[in-house]
Amino acid sequence: MKYFEDVAVGDIMRFGRYEVTKEEIVEYARQFDPQPFHLDEEAAKASMFGGLIASGWHTGAMFIRMVVEHMTPVHATSGAMGFDDLKWLKPVRSGDVLTVESEVREKVEGRRPDRGTVKIESRVINQHGEVVMSLVSLVIYLRR
């Protein structure tokens, strides 16, 4: 288990594999982001994206799934306060395979003696090596 004391600025972690399907793009969009370019292949073709793309918030949800599967079991975290500087850089499409690369940017001691905040920059990368989304998460780590 990695506690606040165990993470160091510059640490890099690579993890996760998420296959994006058309069915899931549409299902997410119906519930949370019902815009034509997330819902309807024909309408999406006519849009500036040239085809169906995942909601950016859906990419965020797929990202957190990979984090919870691969990082949470081995890092003593207690959720996150939020994030900064989220960028949706490239469309995510059906058939894409996503993975995550995370890098520790900064450790903030804070006032609480039992925990600290770690700023982690994460990049979600597709099968062509293109970064599709990046963000800096403010993750709460417990101390040893």
Partner: protein
């Protein structure tokens, strides 16, 4: 149709409301954020949260839903988002909470290369006690008002 030109700094919008159920919290979390305090009411009771809470990414998804509905009411020519400056989860969201929201335009500027413009706005969701649960500052792109010959009869 509401185009980029029609958004003014300081403009405020009240978003609709959404009552969140335990079933919804569990369904989202089991698919995307399977941590015990989001997926297991018993384990959540023993956690620092004292009960089941929604994934922060679920709260953001609901904010998106309310924002899309507001865009639709205004017939706004929204065309996606390049990202957010910040997002803070301020209070846990629990089953039975009713979330509503408000947004305020902070800044607008046109794209130099495309017939679109950007709007930076702050969006807050609050619960039924008036407590903010999430606050974001994010960007939205809107199409520019078409120029050229008038097509009106």
């Amino acid at each position: 149709m509401k185009y980029w030109e029609d958004f003014k700094v300081g403009e405020r919008i009240v978003l609709g409301a959404h009552a969140i159920s335990e079933a919804e919290i569990l369904a989202f979390a089991r698919k995307y954020d399977p941590q015990p305090f989001h997926t297991d009411p018993e384990a959540a009771r023993r956690s620092i949260f004292g009960g089941l809470i929604a994934s922060g990414w679920h709260t953001c998804a609901l904010m998106m839903r309310l924002s899309v509905e507001a865009n639709r009411r205004e017939d706004a020519a929204a065309t996606g988002s390049p990202g957010l400056d910040s997002c803070r989860w301020l209070k846990p969201v629990r089953p039975g909470d009713t979330l509503t929201g408000r947004s305020e335009v902070l800044e607008t500027w046109p794209s130099r290369s495309k017939p679109i413009g950007f709007v930076r706005r702050r969006v807050d969701l609050v619960n039924q006690h008036g407590e903010p649960v999430v606050t974001i500052v994010g960007l939205t792109m809107y199409r520019r008002r078409p120029v050229g010959p008038a097509v009106r009869a």
